[in-house]
Amino acid sequence: MSTHTITLTVNGREHTEEVEARLTLADLLRERLDLTATHLGCEHGVCGACTVLLDGKPARSCLTLAVQAEGAKIRTLEGLADPEGELHPVQQGFWEKHGMQCGFCTPGIVMSVVELLERDPDPSDDEIAATLGGHLCRCTGYVKIREAVREAVRLRSGSHSPQEIRR
């Protein structure tokens, strides 16, 4: 199987990796870079648990080949807050509004919501619904997730967290 050398930036850090053409971006992140917050719920692009931001846009990392991410800037859940630092407003919103139960789908949803709020700091209910519509959650019934997104909007508008200023 042919291999390719790719360079990509993940959460601000540049990585150069030798990969098989068929290696998925999710497996690169999880197995090579040990960034295991990005979860695999279906491996066929439906559940959205594996969502990362690829050059600022949500991408299903299970359907994206690592070679397609050549030169790209990737953001994952691990990059939202420093390990001991203050949580990102979206993370904080999910905590305060009980927007998660088992937490397996949460990383993908959080990344999609982060992208939504960066694009539109005060999204309509329809926009929120459209964003959440790309994700499956089996625990919450989504009601508290919608509240969590609203809380994130509120927290974001209140003050900018250090993570946001840094970015």
């Binding site: 066929h44 937490g103 919608r146």
Partner: protein, 785 residues
């Protein structure tokens, strides 16, 4: 987090202890565990629903790049069968599943071999090279059909597809039916659907080189029980087997049971002498993890003129799939035991046949056996009420078990134990639910004209749940060196928030603050000596009671130790902000961290006291407790597309005592969403050849944010159970229990045509709408007789 007084944690909606690692991405689910040198397993599964295995040739797979090993059935002792852990019956023994199919495959997806290789990619490549010759046999898929004389038989040894039968008869059923004003009889069917936790199953196993002990990561739900099973199947002493639960991506009944892979992965690790990891993909998860719910009810109600419930008779066929799995007869006995619901019946008869077919084996799914029973009973009540010209809600009210009849024996039994509803004010909760729903407002909405293509309807469903099956658990509470509390408990975390709830209970038992409970540790058989785990809404009621007992005992120890140090009387001391202080003289105090130091053996033994500040407790209770609830739904249907829109949905649920109302509401809403999926979307569908045709998320539709409406939820505490010191009844399943029933009732009301099977897909809704038009061409559907 808001500050609060010590000792008032129970009843508050504190934020969860679990969330931070999940939000930061530092949580470790089993596939996140990277063991150095681990090999990866791929399970080779049968592509046939029913076939004889003529030949297996692993030679090509063995030679494939990166392959370490291939395991086939002949490598495993013929005696290994996955046992029943509950409700086991000797007549079910012949139907237990071997880890790898022996001679015959009985469902599409059954494990036939395991390939172990250097990576998941290499293992799956090599799995394709397995040469297996099958001789296809005719499959049998339909539950009732499997009992007909000419149906293919799954197990030649017994010659019958009937795995088990349960029969409950109470009262004179013939007499009751003979004096009925109205008898209604229907076939009501609940379709096969399943728990489908979002994290696929996975496991990692390793024999520790230094100690020779086996460690299995990825266990869930019932870690200690599975350790016993694994130890027995491997023939290893219990002490040489350690199971560790990591983060778990949802349970809902299916995850955590002992599956073939729970034997195969450790077996491969032992055989290969290196760590082995396996992660299911979604296709194999949907084809191999327990299905549930497939029941066929031939059910009849005998009603008096005023709607009095004279008798209920039901013959149920439960399609258990190709093997009997770990639950034995749990689902069937739950159906038979709880089918009467919250009502008084003059007479009752239920016969359940648990039937084998060539489908994925079935097990429990949130509100197992009750979702189906509630559908059948509550549908029939609506059908009967309509035929009598009575309001279905009023008919329910007239027949509820009254408050003064509590505790109430329903006349049924579960696993040999009589069912006794321990407490409940059923009429009161019905009023609460109607109030929450704004019933009059909905009735007016329903009566208004929605336009020519639309129909409106509403429905109610009342049910009794159960909690605390498997009747004991273990807890240990201790102080750590910082003077903070640490709990060890036999429960498991499957995402439900058990750490938070048990920390709240611990805090109150100790008289300390919630934030001073440092950790709730669970799910590691080395850290917790024994326990029953988390299933059947049991953790709060059973393990919570053990935590409370242990915490209260530790509080006594702490106060006594402080009394000695401070030379004060115990009655004058209290715990506040990490110190034990004398009331009225705050200068006389000792910190909990100092007490920890004083309890070190060197000092404690010198002072002739017991070392360490820790207490253990077991809680054991003879019977289950019975929470109860009401679902109400209003739907609007587009009769051109068959789409069902849920306009309003309300759940009122009495849990006896709500330890964390926020989390209970989360359980109810999440549970209801699953129940709505079962009502409208989800089906484990099979082709006539026995192929599973919904084994992807493109085909198996779980609800998305677009399908789940806002819900009205009311959690009441009218009827604390007398059976445990908390009064708590458990809250995990009431959100799901009646969702199928209530939506079927609302859709039937809207269309004026009786829905008798789920899911209510657009196709089925359109069929019902047509049936209604054909039946009453002059008056479309709105009449309620």
């Amino acid at each position: 987090m808001t500050s609060h007084r010590d000792g008032d944690a129970i009843g508050r909606s504190v934020l969860r202890k679990e969330d931070e690692p999940l939000l930061r991405g530092s949580a470790c689910f089993v596939d996140d565990l990277h063991l150095p040198g681990a090999a990866h397993a791929a399970v080779v599964r049968s592509p046939h629903a029913h076939a004889r295995i003529a030949r297996i040739d692993p030679a090509a797979a063995r030679k494939a790049p990166g392959v370490f090993d291939v395991v086939v059935a002949s490598d495993i002792s013929e005696r290994v069968r996955i046992p029943m852990r509950m409700h086991s019956k000797p007549e079910l023994e012949p139907y237990l599943q071997p880890p790898l199919a022996r001679g015959v495959v009985r469902y599409s997806g059954e494990p036939v071999a395991v390939v172990v290789a250097e990576s998941r990619y290499a293992a799956e490549d090599a799995a394709q090279l397995m040469s297996i010759e099958y001789e296809p046999l005719e499959p049998v898929l339909d539950g009732p059909g499997a009992l007909s004389g000419d149906a293919p038989v799954l197990f030649e040894e017994t010659g019958s597809n009937m795995a088990a039968q349960i029969e409950i008869v109470d009262g004179d059923i013939g007499e009751a039916f003979s004096r009925a004003e109205l008898v209604v009889e229907e076939v009501i069917e609940c379709q096969r659907h399943a728990s489908v936790p979002l994290e696929p199953r996975g496991l990692a196993a390793e024999v520790d080189e230094r100690t020779g002990r086996l460690v299995l990561w990825g266990a869930a739900k019932i870690v200690h029980l599975n350790r016993r099973i694994l130890s027995r199947l491997l023939g290893w002493p219990l002490e040489r087997v350690r199971l560790i639960e990591l983060h778990v991506g949802g349970g809902f009944g299916a995850r955590g049971e002992f599956y073939p892979e729970d034997y195969l992965v450790p077996f491969c690790a032992i055989r290969l002498g290196r760590p082995v990891k396996w992660t299911a993909d979604r296709d194999e998860d949907l084809r191999s993890t327990n299905h549930s719910r497939e029941q066929h009810h031939r059910i009849a109600l005998a009603l008096g003129a005023d709607g009095e419930f004279l008798a209920l008779r039901d013959t149920v066929t439960f399609n258990t799939g190709a093997y009997v799995r770990t639950h034995g007869t749990v689902v069937a006995s739950m159906t038979a035991g709880l089918l009467p619901g919250p009502y008084r019946w003059g007479a009752y008869e239920c016969r359940i046949r648990q039937v084998l077919t060539n489908k994925t084996p079935a097990g429990t799914y949130r509100s197992p056996g009750r979702y189906e029973a509630n559908l059948a009973r509550e549908r029939m009540i609506d059908i009967g009420a309509r035929r009598l010209g009575l309001d279905p809600v009023e008919v329910r009210r007239r027949n509820l078990v009254p408050l003064d009849a509590m505790p109430h024996r329903s006349g049924t039994h579960i696993d040999g134990k009589p069912v006794e509803y321990d407490s409940g004010d059923y009429p009161r909760l019905l009023d609460e639910a109607l109030d929450l729903f704004d019933h009059d407002e909905v009735a007016a909405w329903r009566a208004a004209d929605p336009g020519p293509r639309r129909r409106r309807g509403m429905g109610a469903a009342y049910f009794v749940e159960k909690s605390g099956i498997a009747n004991w658990d273990y807890a240990r509470v201790e102080l750590n060196s910082e003077g903070r509390a640490v709990v060890h408990v036999g429960s498991a975390s499957i995402g439900q928030g058990v750490e938070t709830v048990l920390a709240q209970i611990c805090a109150d038992g100790l008289g300390m603050g919630y934030d001073e409970v440092d950790e709730v540790r669970h799910g590691d058989t080395d850290e917790v000596p024994d326990g029953m785990g988390s299933f059947g809404s049991r953790a709060t009621a059973i393990a919570g009671s053990a935590v409370l007992r242990a915490a209260e005992a530790l509080r006594q120890r702490i106060i006594a130790a402080a009394a000695e140090l401070l030379e004060a009387s115990e009655g004058d001391l209290e715990i506040a902000d990490g110190d034990v202080v004398a009331r009225g003289s705050p200068s006389r105090s000792v910190s909990l961290a100092e007490l920890y130091q004083a309890a070190q053996p060197v000092r404690a033994l010198a002072a002739s006291t017991d070392p360490w500040l820790k207490e253990e407790a077991y809680f054991h209770v003879g019977s289950m407790t019975f929470p109860y609830g009401v679902h109400l739904a209003a739907v609007e249907i587009d009769i051109e597309t068959g789409a069902v829109e849920i306009e309003r949905y309300a759940v009122a649920y009495d849990v006896g005592r709500a330890v964390n109302p926020l989390l209970i509401r989360g359980q109810i809403v999440g549970g209801a969403a699953q129940g709505m999926g079962g009502a409208l979307l989800e089906e484990m569908a099979y082709g006539a050849d026995g192929q599973h045709v919904s084994s992807s998320f493109m085909d198996y539709l779980i609800p998305t944010a677009s399908e789940v409406p806002p819900l009205r939820v009311r959690v009441t505490e009218d009827a604390p159970t007398p059976l445990n010191p908390l009064g708590a009844k458990g809250a995990g399943e009431g959100g799901t229990a009646a969702a199928g029933a209530v939506l079927a009732n609302a859709v039937s009301d809207a269309l004026g045509s009786e829905a008798t099977s789920l899911p209510l897909t657009p196709e089925r809704v359109l069929t019902l709408a047509r049936a209604s038009r054909d039946a009453r061409p002059s008056r479309p559907s709105r009449s309620r007789s």
